[in-house]
């Protein structure tokens, strides 16, 4: 079953074309990895898919579960099953992790026609999910991402993912800044989400995470689109040769 289909997408920001004629299809049950040089437009792609308003799509289409993704508001995309773990998670002073997540979880439940969780039910859920990821209860009371270390922010993204249980998760450098233990925790979180109904798109620069996750497909992304696709071995090949040889191919 096709979960995400992107067809000839061209998009940019601030009058600058960054994604050029990009196409990709992700089926349920698959894990895709995207690797590419700095500034190639990987984060831009993730923002466009999540619906950030300053990014402009000039042509192309995208569907999530057959729904026209580009017509949907960011919150609709999220509630329809898309999740973006951001490269740079945003700090929101004055909003606690638990309050933030309670709104997010209940928004999704409401969208799905489920009753909203009350404070007690939610906190129980939150605490057990946090515990699995090695996040302390103290952390949940803090203002979200305010003063969090790089690794703490990434753990927090994974916590959100594990609570929201997206059908399609895009992880934009979820592994950057993580210590070895945290990397394992993130990989476990990801693997837990890996079912026949779900799919993942992992943007990364490193093989460490891919070793733990073992993607079904690896894509090399440059100059706004995929220049080469392969299986997990492509990532190893890339590690040996660098981007240079792949870029010269085009």
């Amino acid at each position: 079953m096709v979960l995400l289909k992107i067809e000839n997408l061209t998009a940019g920001v601030a009058q600058k074309e960054i994604i050029k004629n990009f196409s990709l299809t992700i089926n349920a049950g698959e894990v895709h990895a995207i690797m590419g040089p700095n500034g190639a437009g990987k984060s831009t792609l993730s923002y466009v898919l999540a619906g950030k308003s300053d990014y402009e799509v000039t042509s192309g289409k995208a569907w999530l579960n057959g729904q026209d993704l580009l017509q949907m508001k960011p919150e609709e995309r999220a509630n329809a099953g898309l999740f973006l773990s951001m490269q740079y998670p945003v700090a929101i002073p004055g909003v606690s992790v638990s309050n933030f997540l309670k709104h997010a979880v209940n928004a999704k439940r409401k969208y799905a026609g489920l009753p909203e969780l009350d404070a007690a039910e939610f906190l129980k859920l939150l605490r057990s999910a946090a515990k699995e990821l090695g996040i302390s209860a103290e952390m949940l009371k803090r203002e979200i991402n305010v003063g969090f270390s790089g690794g703490e922010k990434k753990r927090m993204e994974i916590l959100q993912m594990s609570l929201l249980k997206p059908q399609l998760a895009i992880l934009d450098e979820a592994d950057s800044g993580l210590d070895i233990d945290a990397l394992r925790v993130v990989a476990e979180g990801v693997n837990k989400l890996r079912t026949a109904d779900n799919a993942l798109l992992i943007i990364t620069h490193h093989n460490d995470l891919l070793d733990l996750i073992k993607p079904d497909f690896v894509h090399i992304y440059a100059d706004g689109h995929i220049v080469r696709s392969g299986d997990a071995n492509l990532a190893l090949e890339l590690e040996q040769s660098g981007y240079k040889s792949f870029l010269e191919e085009v």
Binding site: D54, E75, V90, I92, G94, H103, L164
Partner: protein, 416 residues
């Protein structure tokens, strides 16, 4: 305005000093008039003086029916308090179930008994405060509250002012709060009204915080939308005394909270914090003037505002540090969210520092909601409207956190 009201009779015109004080109020009002665009302290919130003609002064006794809140002990707050109730600008109860060490008298009684004379009109110059001068010309309604040496109140004292619908009325209210040495009290002033009421509350509080006394003063101007509210709170703080004020302003035509605070002796400290949120067309004004007149005095201010629609927020903060007030600290921060193109915020910090060994800072920021934060929340499924509300709440909550009394904090956060 003043001249038009010769026909009204006030209590105690035969008491020479009282007559003299009112006369001074009348003469000052005549001489300085009402604030206009050139009046610095009213630059952003003055209004046409003719507007005052639309209000009348009611000196007849007020009789409200039994359904009025002032007959209902628990109508005001979800926590226990000593209640002082005003209805249409008139003191509605004169019996207060008070613990030892605290006295509350109607202002008239306090004048009659001779208690008020030493305090009334003693804490500020009428010439500087046009509405306080007008208030002085008509002073009669209000209370005098005295907390004796070393007395620590177990519950807050709540002054609940309520206004009914009726002919537009101006209420000149005057209170005196005296906290003797080492006493401790919490005073809440809560203003409510029938939603369609039109009126003008012109309030003056004179507050005397004596040595090592502590006053927590909470004000919620939850007036009707068509109301005007102008208040001057004049405070003297002596050695090691503390005056902490928090003011919450809700939607109305004009809500002005002006604090005039003298830190007179070493160790005196004051805080003025507050929030305002106006989403339609009103004006909210928090004006402070804090004078550090002695060494080792400290002041802190944090005001968070939100304006939308065509509303206007005003913050004017003056910190004055006298030449010999060394090792003082004065901090001031105002942050406002401006949610629409027609909304406006005017902020004017003024620091006058004449001592050299001081720590002083002021800050002011105004802006829209943060697009990155909104997107982050939306990307987690939270709809845009809820995301905005969360950010607005977060913005305001920072100021609410300054409230020391947990009951008051919970009550205000929930109902504001």
């Amino acid at each position: 305005m003043v001249e038009d009201n010769h026909n009204i009779t006030l209590w105690g015109e035969d008491i020479p000093w009282l007559f003299g004080l009112r006369e001074k109020g009348r003469q000052t009002t005549k001489a300085i008039g009402l604030p206009n665009a050139k009046t610095e302290a009213w630059k952003y919130s003055h209004f046409a003086p003719t507007i005052l003609d639309t209000y009348h002064i009611d000196t007849t006794p007020h009789h409200c029916d039994e359904n009025c809140h002032c007959h209902d002990e628990k109508a005001s707050t979800p926590f226990a308090a000593y209640y002082i109730k005003f209805c249409n600008g008139k003191l509605a109860n004169e019996h207060f179930d008070l613990p030892a060490g605290v006295t509350i008298k109607s202002l008239v009684e306090a004048i009659f008994d001779g208690d008020a004379k030493a305090y009334l009109g003693k804490s500020f110059d009428l010439e500087k405060f046009p509405f306080a001068a007008l208030n002085t010309a008509y002073l009669e309604q209000g209370v005098m509250l005295t907390v004796e040496r070393g007395t620590v109140l177990d519950r807050p004292i709540l002054l609940h002012y309520h206004q009914h619908y009726g002919t537009p009325q101006i209420n000149h209210l005057r209170n005196i709060f005296v906290l003797e040495n080492r006493s401790k009290a919490t005073i809440i002033e809560y203003f409510t009204a029938e939603s369609n009421a039109e009126y003008f509350n012109n309030l003056v509080n004179e507050i005397y915080v004596r040595e090592a006394a502590q006053l927590q003063h909470y004000v919620w101007q939850n007036e009707a939308v068509a109301a005007r509210h102008v208040a001057l709170t004049s405070v003297e703080v002596r050695k090691d005394g503390t005056y902490n004020c928090f003011c919450a302003q809700s939607e109305c035509v004009l809500a002005r909270h002006e604090s005039y605070i003298r830190l007179q002796q070493e160790g005196a400290a004051a805080e003025v914090n507050g929030v305002y949120r106006l989403m339609h067309s009103g004006v909210s004004d928090i004006t402070t003037n804090i004078a550090h007149l002695a060494p080792h005095t400290v002041s802190n201010q944090l005001v968070k505002g939100v304006v939308g629609g065509a509303a206007k927020g005003v913050f004017q903060g003056q910190i004055h540090i006298a030449p010999d007030a060394q090792q003082t600290e004065g901090y001031q921060l105002h942050r406002a969210l401006i949610l629409s193109d027609d909304a406006e915020v005017d902020a004017k910090p003024e620091l006058e520092i004449f001592a050299d060994d001081v720590k002083c800072s002021h800050g002011n920021t105004c802006g829209d909601l943060d697009a990155e934060q909104l997107f982050y929340m939306q990307s987690r499924g939270i709809d845009l409207e809820t995301a905005k509300q969360l950010l607005i709440e977060a913005h305001i909550n920072e100021a609410f956190e300054k409230i020391n009394d947990n009951n008051v904090k919970t009550w205000l956060k929930k109902n504001f």
